[in-house]
């Protein structure tokens, strides 16, 4: 028998977003250092093999792992709104970062936080995410998948299928943001990713792929892009969500992707990054979506230089890392935010893995500094990870900050020999290994698992779902 429906409404320990204001920042650090639970029980999931090269954090002073905690040497005297908020953020972060040390990843605390949607009813304040139900499943499930996979019980896995299928828009064929809602590409992406993690083949077999394909074609635009839903906005997120979904379902056809790489290429701006649509401002989230989309459309070794000005892209990406914070910003002159640890960091993973000629043998950015930002500045004392000091943790930031930590700890490679090179297979040809201690020193108890850098799923999960559908005869679409 399944346990009874959880009725309790979750009441967070820190209720108001403003209550984690700067005043409580210091206590946040203290509790990171001193939370007894995690220190007593630093649990490294057995799933991840440990690497003999990993040293403890005490060795952080090694030359190769130097971090940049000091302020930039040249700062303009002119003060504007942008520089004032930047200075404030830099000050807040610098106040949390301790030289030569790294805090422990509060695994148990974050696990407890991430299990809230699987254990409690979410409080009424979550009504604003009522059109994002599949995301409320995907974010914590993925985060737990790399943080503490053993915490996801069979009971949880068995509840994913029905919960996601309740979001299916049976009329259109895609998934909506909740029960009875219109099919939407972002919701479909999150739904399929959650289903992939369920491993539930009975549910996989229920999805009408032909209908899903027809819906994807109905949101395809003549210019090569995609709309989020019928009559919805066209942007590069939609492109990524459509292609990632189609790759998982093994329904990529030449018609579906016609003109799409060219459309993504048009989104690269004069700054070198990628905007949401042609002429829009370069932005870390869209940059990842555009780059990952190219990695689904074909062999990334060929696709990336063919459709992007790689030098410009790398220059812009490199400028996203800020000193002294160590984290990434999403746009020029905007502030660092924990979620870009993935959106920008994920771009680095892909470039490093697909274009070793571009990135040579080394990493072109500072993994040690990003690790510092995530562990010192993004961990919340109530569990979960956050945008920056002073903000509350949430499932979105937990998902992408932890994915960023995974990116710090692992080195990804695109391996064209893994599978037969054909459309629909390219995004499943990634391997990973633990990063060399010459690049970044990782504390053994902080290790999180590797992921698929194109699908943003724990490694192997998307591959299994794709192969399930690939084992059938090709659909006549």
């Amino acid at each position: 028998m399944r346990p009874p429906v959880p009725r309790a409404v979750f009441r967070p320990r820190v209720v108001s977003p403003s209550s984690e204001s700067s005043a409580s920042i210091e206590s946040t650090t203290t509790s990171l250092e001193g939370t007894p639970g995690a220190k007593k029980n630093p649990r490294t999931p057995k799933t991840f093999s440990t690497n003999p090269n990993i040293r403890m954090a005490a060795a952080m002073t090694a030359e190769q792992n130097k971090v940049h905690n000091e302020a930039l040497s040249v700062v303009d005297s002119l003060i504007t709104e942008s520089s004032a908020t930047q200075e404030e953020t830099a000050r807040l972060c610098a106040g949390l970062i301790l030289d030569g040390q790294l805090p422990v990843l509060q695994r148990q605390l974050h696990t407890d936080f991430l299990k809230i949607p699987m254990t409690f009813q979410l409080p009424p304040t979550f009504t604003g995410l009522d059109a994002s139900k599949p995301w409320l499943m995907y974010w914590p499930l993925h985060a737990l998948g790399i943080l503490d996979p053993d915490s996801r019980t069979d009971d949880i896995f068995s509840r994913i299928g029905p919960s996601v299928m309740a979001c299916l828009d049976e009329k259109e064929g895609g998934f909506g943001g909740g029960n009875g809602q219109t099919a939407h590409l972002a919701a479909t992406y999150a739904s399929l990713n959650a289903l992939a993690m369920s491993g539930d083949k009975q549910v996989w077999a229920q999805i009408n792929r032909r209908k899903l394909y027809k819906w994807l074609m109905s949101v395809k635009r003549p210019d090569g892009g995609f709309s989020m839903h019928v009559g919805g906005e066209e942007d590069v997120r939609a492109v990524y969500c459509a292609l990632a979904s189609a790759a998982l379902m093994n329904i990529i056809t030449p018609e579906l992707v016609e003109g799409t790489a060219e459309w993504v290429s048009r989104c690269q701006t004069y700054e070198g990054g990628i905007g949401g649509a042609p002429c829009n401002e370069a932005h870390g989230g869209y940059a990842f979506c555009g780059l990952a989309a190219l990695c689904i459309l074909g062999n990334p070794v060929e696709m990336i230089p063919k459709y992007l000005d790689v030098d410009g892209f790398v220059q812009w990406l490199s400028a996203r890392q800020y000193q002294p914070e160590g984290g990434f910003s999403g746009r020029t002159n905007k502030l660092v935010d924990g979620c870009y640890s993935w959106w920008v960091g994920g771009c680095w993973s892909i470039l490093e893995g697909a274009l070793p000629g571009i990135t040579a043998k080394d990493v072109l950015w500072s993994k040690a500094d990003l690790q510092k930002y995530i562990l010192f500045c993004c961990q919340s004392s109530r569990g979960g990870l956050r945008d920056k000091p002073g903000k509350s943790s949430d499932f979105y930031h937990s998902c992408y900050a932890l994915s960023g930590l995974s990116e710090v700890q692992h080195r990804y490679s695109f391996n064209p020999k893994l599978r037969v090179a054909k459309p629909g297979e390219y995004s499943f040809m990634w391997t990973s290994e633990l990063e060399s201690p010459d690049i970044v020193i990782i504390d053994e108890q902080n290790i999180v698992g590797p992921l698929n850098p194109v699908h943003v799923l724990p490694a192997g999960v998307g591959e299994r779902m794709h192969d399930f559908y690939a084992s059938f005869e090709m659909l006549e679409l």
Binding site: R2, V74, S163, G275, N280, E281, A360
Partner: protein
């Protein structure tokens, strides 16, 4: 807030309860009763594709309870057009929603649908301006502004508008991006004199805050778009970053460098002229002193150039 949709008769409608799937769904939300009930009516009217005034009012009430509800917005757009509603009234209503929920982005796609049909941009730029006053870097508002400019051919005001925004905050990158759009977004050739003006504009902005990446990116973007050479700004860069003639000094003032970006551009100029040693010196300074968090990138640029030069020499 009183819910106006309840002023209509709903006796003929059987509300459809939410089915979150299974007996123990993930991520259930403890909704307020008002929202839960309104959603039950919404599912009921949508399931029969009802196009009525009461359904329209229901969408308005729901949007105030959850403005991110894209399904409700899309249904509302269809209702407005099917019922031939006064679109100007709708635009006024959207403005209320926008000002109450400034971070909401679903309104922009909705407004685009309505304005496209209304075929008149009279309310658009003033409303956008109000929204950008609330958040001068709101991505969706700037993106919507681009749509309005293109759709109604309103290019003429845009340089002045970005100038005002840049005047307020020279680091507002969204405003710079929009300026680039205003210059080059139209598929037309731009006169050389206009390009010269933009180069001067960006240089003036850089002199106010030499580390400002937004103005630098714009300057370099304009040059590249116009196929103009980087060496055109070599003197300008030299004024902001003079390479030391001897070993790098530990005293910053001795280096006379007020802009790391000027140093970066100089390195590229030197590399393009095969002056590898000077380029390498600039990258070393960046790595060691002026932008050290990007040390790996500067080393990569240096190594790449040295290798390239060795291969061609």
């Amino acid at each position: 807030m009183p819910l106006a949709y309840l002023d209509y008769t709903w006796d003929d409608i059987v509300p459809i309860p939410q089915d979150d799937g299974g007996d123990s769904p993930l991520a259930p939300i403890a909704y307020q009763d008002d929202y839960k009930t309104a959603m039950e009516y919404l599912r009921a009217v949508m399931s029969v594709e009802e196009f009525s005034d009461r359904a329209l009012q229901l969408t308005a009430d729901l949007i105030f309870m959850n403005p991110a509800h894209y399904t409700v917005w899309a249904y509302r757009a269809r209702l407005l057009l099917a019922l031939k509603k006064d679109l100007e009234q709708e635009l006024i209503w959207i403005e209320e929603v926008g000002e109450q929920f400034p971070k909401n982005y679903q309104i922009w796609n909705h407004r685009e649908v309505i304005v496209d049909k209304y075929d008149n941009p009279i309310r658009e730029l003033p409303f956008i301006e109000v929204m950008l006053e609330l958040d001068s870097k709101n991505y969706h508002v700037w993106s919507y502004r681009q749509w309005v400019v293109r759709r109604f051919d309103l290019w003429i005001t845009e340089l002045d508008y970005t100038d005002r925004m840049i005047e307020n905050d020279v680091r507002n990158n969204s405003a710079w991006n929009h300026r680039y759009f205003a210059m080059f977004g139209k598929a037309e050739d731009v006169a050389r004199t206009a390009i010269d003006d933009e180069i001067d504009y960006a240089k003036t902005a850089i002199l106010k805050a030499p580390q400002n990446a937004s103005a630098w990116n714009y300057l370099l973007g304009v040059l590249k778009h116009s196929n103009r050479s980087l060496s055109e700004i070599e003197d300008f860069c030299n004024d902001l970053a003079t390479l030391p003639t001897t070993e790098p000094s530990t005293d910053i003032d001795m280096d006379q460098i007020t802009s790391a970006r000027a140093l970066e551009v100089l390195a590229d100029i030197y590399a393009s002229r095969h002056e590898v040693e000077k380029a390498a010196q600039a990258w070393t300074l960046l790595a060691e002193k002026y932008d050290p968090i990007r040390e790996n990138y500067w080393k990569f640029k240096k190594d790449q150039t040295i290798q390239r030069f060795a291969a061609t020499a």
